[in-house]
Symmetry: C2
Subunit: 319 residues, 2 copies
DNA sequence: CTCAATGTATTTAATAATTTGATTCAGTCG
DNA sequence: CGACTGAATCAAATTATTAAATACATTGAG
C-alpha cells in the first residue's frame, strides 16, 4: 500500500503507522497537481525553481519540497539541489488518494438548527460537544467553535462549570425574536418602498405575487408549499437591506421561523391562506409606493406570525 | 515544596514534575473548602459520606475522593472505606495555593476591542491567534473561541486557508453599524415614550438631564467627560428594551462608538456641546411624551454621530 | 435483604503536545 | 551580484493526555 490516508482499527488517522496530528490534504493536492504539471513536460526536462512550482500549485515551498522528495523517492524525478529533471512520465498509480472533503462549514449551521428544532430539544439542555461532534461527524473542536459563534445570538451559552447549554426556544426567546424581526423587517419594508423603479426587487415582487395567487388557487391541496413561499417573500423584502448585521440576524431568524412553520399543523391550510393574503396586501401597498400602508400590512402579518410561533411552542410543550 | 501549581522554566504548568493537560483548580478549591469544613468538627469526629461532602463542596465525588486521599496522606484524616475520621485539626500549611484567577471572560472582549480600535488595526489584517493569546495572556484556544463568537458580527472572519482576519472598521462597516444602531435606537426611543410613569428610566433621564446641563456649564474645561455621558445616555435609552438580540448588538455598538469618540480630536469641544444639546432635545421630547418629536431628535443626533464616526475614520486613515 | 455508601469504569471538557505548512533569513552557486 | 536553495522558526490544525463528572457495579451495616 502506498502513502495514503487510511483509518486503523482505533479509528485514528495514520500514515505509514505514524499518527498524524494534522491532515496533509494540501500536500496531497499539491502532489497530484505537480504530477499533472510534469505530465506536460517531456522526459528528461529540467523542472523550474521551487518558488515557481509553489506558485503554480498555490502552496508554500515547504510543501513543494515535500512533493519533490516523494517524487524523487518514486523515481519520477532526479533531485539534487537546483538540478531537478524529469526521469519518467508520471503514472496514475503515482497519485495520492484524497480524503473525503464533505466538509460543508455553512451546512453545519443548518444541520444543527435542524436538529435542535426537529427533535424539539428543551430549553437549558446540556449540550455534549463530544456527542454532537459524533452525530454531525465533525471534529469536536470545530463544533466548539460553531457553538461559540452561536453564543452571540443567545441560543447557546457556556455553563459556569464548563460545557454548554442550549438556551432553547422558550417563550421569551420567541417573543424577543419576533420583536427583533418586526423591527428589522419594518425597516426593510420602508427601504423597499423607496427603492428605484429599476431595482430588481420589483421584478421579484411581481413574480411572488403571481406565485402567491397561483398557490391560493390550489391551496386545498398544496397548502404545505406555503412555507417555502414565505421564506422567499421575506428574503425578497430583506434583500434591499445591504447591512451585514441585519443580514446575519435575518439568516437565523428565517431559519427558526421556517422550521416552526412546519411544526404547528393545526389549521395549517387556513393559516397559510390568511398569510398569503397578508403577503399580497404588503405587495399591493408596496407597488402603490404607499409606505405607511405597507408598514401597517407588514405589522399585521408579523403579528400573526408571532402568535403562530407562540402557539406552536405551546402545543409543542404540551405534546 | 508541597503539591502546588508552579511554572517550570519552560513556562508549562507542572505538578511534581509531571505536565498537566488540564488545570486542577476545582480540586484545589474543593480541598481548601473541605479543610474549612473539617475545622468546624472536633478531632476524632466521623466525616459524612462522600456524596454529602461532594454536595457541600459543589464538586463531584471524584474530586472529593482525591481530596480525601491527600488528606489521608497528610495525616489529617484516617480513611478506610466508609470509616473516615478526623485525626487532627487542619493547619494553614495544609492548604493548597490557588492559581491566579484573573480570568475575566467578559473583559477579554473589552480588551480586544480596545486593542483593535486604539492601535488602529487596518482592515483585512491577518490575526495570529498565538500572538494575540500571548499579548492578552489567555490560552490560545480561549481566544479562538472568542474570535468565533465575534465572527457573527462580521468583525472577524475565517480565512479560506485557515487563520483569521480582522474585517476591520472600513467605511462600509461604519455605515452599516450606524444604520443598524439607528434602527435599534429609534425603537428604544419609541418604547421609552410609552414607558409608565413609575419606570426607572424617567428617574435616570432626570439625572442625566442634570448631568448634561452641569457639563454644558463647564464644557470649556471638561469637554472630554462627554464620552462617558454619551455612553450613559444611550444605555439609559436602551435599558427599556428587554431583548437579548438587541442588547447583545448594542453592547458592541456602544463600545465601538465610545472608542471612536475618543479618537477624533478635531473640534471636540464644539462637537460635544452640540451633542449635549441634541441629547437634551431628546430628553425634552421624551418627558413631554412626544414620541414623533423624540424620534426626530434622536434621528438628528444619530445622524451627527454617524458623520462623526465616518470623519474620524477618514482622519485616521489619512493620519 | 435492602439500600445507601463505596469502588470502578466510562465519558467529557480542557489543554498540552505534536505535526503540517508558511515564512524568514542566511548561505551558495551560476 | 542576484536568484535559488537549505535550514530554522513560527503559527495553525489536530491529536493526546489529564482532570473531573457521571454511570454502573459492588459491598457492608442495619
Amino acid at each position: 500500500m502506498h502513502l495514503s490516508m487510511v483509518f486503523n482499527n482505533s479509528g485514528r488517522k495514520v500514515r505509514q503507522g505514524k499518527i498524524m496530528a494534522r491532515s496533509d490534504t494540501r500536500f496531497r493536492e499539491a502532489f497530484n497537481h505537480l504530477l499533472d504539471f510534469c505530465a506536460t513536460m517531456p522526459a528528461g526536462a529540467e523542472l523550474p525553481a521551487e518558488a515557481t512550482l509553489s506558485e503554480a500549485a498555490g502552496v508554500s515551498r515547504t510543501v513543494v519540497r515535500r512533493c519533490l522528495t516523494r517524487m524523487a523517492d518514486l523515481g519520477i524525478v532526479a533531485w539534487d539541489g537546483r538540478a531537478k529533471h524529469l526521469l519518467r512520465a508520471p503514472l496514475t498509480a503515482d497519485r495520492i488518494a484524497l480524503p473525503d472533503t464533505s466538509g460543508g462549514r455553512d451546512q453545519l449551521e443548518k444541520r444543527f438548527l435542524d436538529w435542535v428544532l426537529r427533535f424539539d430539544v428543551p430549553a437549558d439542555t446540556p449540550l455534549s460537544v463530544a456527542e454532537l461532534a459524533r452525530t454531525f461527524d465533525v471534529a469536536p473542536h470545530d463544533l466548539k467553535e460553531f457553538l461559540a459563534s452561536l453564543s452571540r445570538f443567545g441560543l447557546v451559552a457556556r455553563r459556569p462549570r464548563g460545557g454548554w447549554i442550549l438556551r432553547g426556544f422558550t417563550k421569551d426567546f420567541a417573543i424577543e425574536l419576533s420583536d427583533f424581526r418586526l423591527i428589522l423587517e419594518l425597516d426593510a419594508i420602508a427601504k423597499v418602498a423607496e427603492a428605484p423603479v429599476d431595482h430588481p426587487v420589483w421584478q421579484r415582487l411581481a413574480e411572488l405575487r403571481a406565485a402567491h395567487l397561483a398557490l391560493a388557487d390550489r391551496i386545498a391541496t398544496d397548502f404545505h408549499e406555503f412555507s417555502k413561499l414565505d421564506e422567499a417573500f421575506h428574503e425578497a423584502i430583506n434583500s434591499v437591506v445591504r447591512n451585514r448585521f441585519m443580514a446575519e440576524s435575518q439568516k437565523v431568524i428565517s431559519l427558526i421561523f421556517h422550521y416552526h412553520y412546519m411544526w404547528d399543523k393545526t389549521h395549517e391550510m387556513d393559516r397559510n391562506l390568511a398569510a398569503i393574503n397578508e403577503h399580497l396586501a404588503v405587495i399591493d401597498a408596496l407597488e402603490a409606493r404607499d409606505a405607511p400602508r405597507a408598514c401597517e400590512a407588514a405589522r399585521q402579518h408579523l403579528r400573526t406570525s408571532k402568535s403562530t410561533l407562540l402557539s406552536s411552542l405551546r402545543h409543542h410543550a404540551l405534546g
